[in-house]
Assembly symmetry: C2
Homo-oligomer: 166 residues x 2
């Protein structure tokens, strides 16, 4: 992570930067992937990821600190914790599935090894990002990114030049 990208203060930042600041590394995304799947115990993550225990401790602590996972002590003696998704952690699932769809489309020449299915029927789902109100697929050039109501001058300038709207 570039050290000075977040300074001076997160309130000046683009929401993508804020997101990436929390999950902008390999391990965090993969841990969240596994947590979304249902893993919660230290050794489950370790086995699934092949991660060094020391690194797993660090990344879990970071995810807990950022509020994506919650540490839950389910046994006092011996001390046992599990790491469960918070609301913001669960809301990361669409990002995971977007990454999944993107990987399946472009980096899986031999076919799809992991898919999203309807949990009832088992039928394949095809993830697509749409506008909630109209159901129209979000894609350029019909849609674009723009400064929002809470944009600071820096953000406003960044998104001002190209085809600004009233």
């Amino acid at each position: 992570m570039p050290p000075n990208t977040l300074s001076p203060g997160p309130e000046q930042q683009c929401p993508i930067v804020r997101s990436v600041a929390r999950v902008g590394d390999w391990w965090s995304i993969l841990i969240l992937r596994d947590a979304c799947y249902g893993l919660s115990r230290f050794d489950e993550f370790q086995k699934s990821l092949g991660i060094a225990p020391t690194m797993l401790t660090r990344r879990l602590a970071a995810l807990v600190k950022d509020g994506l996972l919650q540490r839950w002590r389910y046994s006092e003696r011996p001390p046992r914790n599990e790491y469960v998704l918070t609301e913001s952690g669960r809301d990361f699932q669409p990002v995971i599935w977007s990454l999944l769809a993107w990987g399946n489309k472009h980096f899986a020449p031999e076919g799809e090894s992991v898919v999203v299915i309807d949990a009832e029927t088992g039928e394949r789902a095809d993830p697509v990002l749409v506008d909630r109100a109209t159901g129209r697929p979000l894609a350029r050039p019909a849609f674009r990114t723009a400064a929002g109501p809470a944009a600071n001058p820096r953000i406003r300038t960044r998104y001002a030049q190209k085809g600004a709207n009233p």
Copy 2:
């Protein structure tokens, strides 16, 4: 990036791992964000990101090598390149917007500074991931991740234990 996670060979991997292998770092995601917005020249990226030129060279080269950006020489003397999105690069836009929506929802207490809008009307869009065929929002527990047709034994085992479907 964990060095041994990709070995031995990408054909054994989960599609999320393949995706993250290409964009699993800060700078790549931010460069793609800017490229999706329309930036294409070296100094545009540099100014926008505040990235060191040497690092920008490295990341651009990696993105070109992975086929997300294409280097396009638009002037011979002086030599000038621009970096434009390939099809797979353009298809990364939904991931960006998913990250945007997630950041706006959870890490923007003061309001949304960047939003997706209809390029024609300027109206705000609310990104949500749905199933293309039915339009149903993709969320657990109605939907879940499962092994796909091209799954190898390792993947199949991983997704076998919890509530497998026929």
